[in-house]
Symmetry: C2
Subunit: 117 residues, 2 copies
Amino acid sequence: MDSLPFDDRGLIPAIAQQYDTGQVLMLAWMNRAALVETLATGRVCYWSRSRQALWRKDETSGYRQWLKELRLDCDGDTVLLLVDQQGPSCHTGRSSCFYNRVDGEDLVVDSRSLSRE
Amino acid sequence: MDSLPFDDRGLIPAIAQQYDTGQVLMLAWMNRAALVETLATGRVCYWSRSRQALWRKDETSGYRQWLKELRLDCDGDTVLLLVDQQGPSCHTGRSSCFYNRVDGEDLVVDSRSLSRE
């Protein structure tokens, strides 16, 4: 854990992916404490850059992200969280935060599933 | 494009996901020029933080990432690239960079597919 290349803010980006559908839900940031708590409790905890505090998703949204598996990439500088998301992942009420699709010069709001369900 | 919240280095994180299997391949960084080139050519171009240069994947690996769809998250500060990856995405020859799985206190090298194929 201590060998992970946290950036100069002590953070590492974390991708949350719904474990069974493959849908990419969100990208957020973790510090060492968030990572330790996530692994210890099985409930995903991030670091909120805006609030400068640990951010347990259910505290703000009421919906938990349960950790199924935690992976690191080849450089160890990105986390992939395979999760089971209860309710919407996005604060807009959508299942995924990635609902803005670039279509030529336009940005189209498109909340259809990115998974193969 | 100019309204995107690039960070103080002029960068935005970009997640590459194989469009048909859902496998998360890698996370890299884009600046404005990389984003413009990717959208114009349909071949994914990143910004290499180590080389401080535009990084077209096929120049280093020989394998192209073709862009299928580009999405932005709710805050507009993360890109999701749905791609068709030719050959391995990772410089280690694996399809995905996320082959290190945390298993209790251990890190297990695990290159089985993350998709539901």
